[in-house]
């Protein structure tokens, strides 16, 4: 139990050192510091993991020169970023150019406030936590636009337009796929949603949302949209290194660039955390009986988070990038209808609660797979996209 609560108790002890009037302020300050510290460390770890993982996927060792196994590479990167000259283009809109990275990072960091990291580690239990998450997330679009427009660079402008269009388009499937979860758990509070996934069948099969047909579909839709929301491959068009160089980040250097980079990673952590909370049982252990062991719950949470991060990296190492119009079509003509159909499936799942499990599963799977196949085929067949057979001369 101590393992589970030591962080909270430490906080209480520290807060109690202060006079009563200060305690709420000090308490939130401590929480904020811890969250920022943990995620800044995770940022360093994730950059290293990404480069190592990509390296291994590409059959090379990745960074291995700084420290043992390259472990201090993030430190070296940080020093480099901090000491680099900060270049602002002469024609740039100086104020907006300066504000953009801050506007990006601040809301993304706010999003961590509602995610329950462990059984006792909930920064704020908001009644409308999920709504809060999406609300602060949507501010990132403004930042992308500010960065792109203020740089007064054509590539940046193209990148900014791509970023806005992409984020707006993918916000819909993202939000709608979470609505399935809200319908089943009946709450917008993330703590309640995690609690709804407590327990399991025979203490072996957990009752995570991802282990239901609608949850699986919702998770996949959510994850795909989250890839796009956090500008990750295969939806990394706003950066589009091979086309528009760095997109809205082209004209940033030094620490401001690092802030953008950090914003992207924090966004990735936030959506991964949300996906974990909504679909993967939050801080619950993968096997329900493990919940009662000594392993603290936040270990499970961060384990799942890292797993999702690895999937992000894996996808980045494998897939090429979509084109702008294809991205839009994918969102509006494929993901959004699927997300809407998933809402129907949730309703179906809810109303067939008395049915035998196999029948429910079969019904829901059919209801999901049929539109998936049909929509996918429509998407591909429209332009006759398929592997081809070739002829040979004579």
């Amino acid at each position: 139990m101590l393992l589970e609560t030591w962080l909270v108790q430490l906080k209480h002890w520290m807060v109690n050192l202060f006079p009563a009037g200060w305690q709420p302020g000090v308490g939130s300050l401590v929480s904020v510091t811890v969250i920022l510290g943990v995620f800044a460390t995770l940022f360093a770890v994730a950059t290293l993991l990404e480069r190592k993982g990509l390296g291994r996927i590409q059959n090379r060792p990745g960074p291995n020169r700084v420290g043992p196994w390259g472990l201090f590479q993030p430190v070296a990167d940080g020093i480099k970023m901090l000491t680099k000259e900060d270049i602002v283009p002469l024609t740039a809109d100086q104020v907006v150019h300066f504000l953009a990275p801050i506007v990006l990072l601040a809301p993304v960091t706010l999003a961590f406030a509602v995610i329950p990291f462990g059984r006792k580690l909930v920064p704020i239990d908001l009644d409308a936590g999920l709504l809060f998450f999406f609300a602060v997330g949507s501010a990132a679009e403004v930042a992308a636009f500010m960065a792109g427009w203020s740089s007064h660079n054509k590539y940046s402008l193209l990148g900014a337009m791509r970023a806005i269009a992409q984020m707006i388009s993918f916000e819909l499937p993202l939000v709608i796929s979470t609505m399935a979860v809200i319908m089943m758990s009946g709450s917008l509070s993330l703590v309640e949603i995690v609690r709804a996934q407590d327990g399991g069948v025979f203490g072996l099969i957990p009752r995570w949302h991802v282990l239901t047909p609608w949850g699986l579909a919702g998770f996949l839709i959510f994850f795909t949209a989250a890839l796009a929301e956090s500008n990750r491959s295969p939806f990394d068009l706003p950066e589009g290194e091979s086309e528009i160089i760095g997109g809205f980040m082209t004209e940033y250097s030094g620490f401001k660039y690092a802030l953008f980079f950090m914003g992207e990673y924090f966004g990735m952590f936030a959506v991964s955390g949300l996906a974990t909370t909504l679909f993967l049982g939050g801080w619950h252990a993968p096997l329900p009986f493990l919940d009662r062991t000594l392993v603290p719950s936040f270990v499970w949470f961060f384990g799942k988070l890292l797993l999702l991060l690895f999937v992000f990296i894996w996808l980045r190492g494998t897939l090429p990038r979509l084109r702008v119009d294809q991205l839009m079509n994918f969102s509006w003509k494929f993901l959004l209808p699927l997300a809407l159909i998933n809402l129907l499936v949730v309703a179906l799942w809810r109303f067939t609660a008395s049915w035998p499990l196999a029948g429910r599963w079969a019904l829901c799977l059919v209801a999901l797979a049929a539109p998936f196949v049909a929509l996918g085929a429509a998407l591909m067949r429209h332009r006759h996209w398929k592997p081809r057979h070739y002829r040979y001369a004579r």
Binding site: F134, A135, S138, A139, F145, S187, N329, K333, H382
Partner: protein
């Protein structure tokens, strides 16, 4: 609490004034976004969580972006407009402003919120669940009508935005390039 309110109001008023006064349209749009965000903060300060978050989600996330898109995609909107000050425009602007203020005042005084505060009744606890229930029972008709209206607007927008099909955008086989 009061100091926070004053700071918020100052931020909102400053950014709103800047949105009106700034010459560059994009700057004005960004200030407008700041105003929206400030309003959301005001709602939150008043304890209206749901409205506050919805304000950010809809106004900062969507409406502001719409404004920016509209500015960027309109020809010559980018030029610094030649501002001609005339007495007429000032008078008309003030008149419209007063009219809006009057409407707001009338509707505010007609609502029962003021009376509740005057009567010093304890504020009713409003959580998201109750709001949802209200929307799905008492206010279901206005909700549906609104939804219909927005859908119609969206379809209209899509039709307006559809690419012209003749000539341009066709490849050698007569297939469209732009479409997926």
């Amino acid at each position: 609490m009061k100091s926070a309110f004053i700071v918020l109001v100052l931020v909102i008023l400053t950014s709103a004034a800047a949105a009106v006064w700034l010459r560059k349209l994009v700057h004005a749009a960004l200030c407008l976004t700041a105003t929206f965000a400030g309003l959301a903060a005001l709602y939150l300060q008043l304890g209206a969580e749901f409205v506050g978050f919805a304000q950010i989600l809809i106004y900062v996330g969507a409406v502001a972006m719409l404004v920016i898109f509209a500015i960027l995609l309109t020809r010559n909107a980018g030029m610094t407009p030649e501002v001609r000050w005339s007495k007429h425009s000032g008078i008309i602007g003030t008149a419209i402003g007063l009219l809006v203020l009057g409407c707001l005042l009338i509707s505010l005084s007609a609502s029962n919120g003021i009376r509740l505060i005057a009567a010093n009744t304890p504020e009713p606890t409003i959580n998201v669940q109750r709001m949802g229930e209200q929307l799905m029972t008492r206010c279901v008709l206005p909700l549906e009508v609104l939804g219909l209206l927005l859908t119609a607007a969206m379809i209209g927008a899509v039709i307006l935005a559809m690419p012209e099909k003749h000539g341009e955008g066709l490849d050698s086989d007569g297939r469209k390039i732009d479409e997926l």
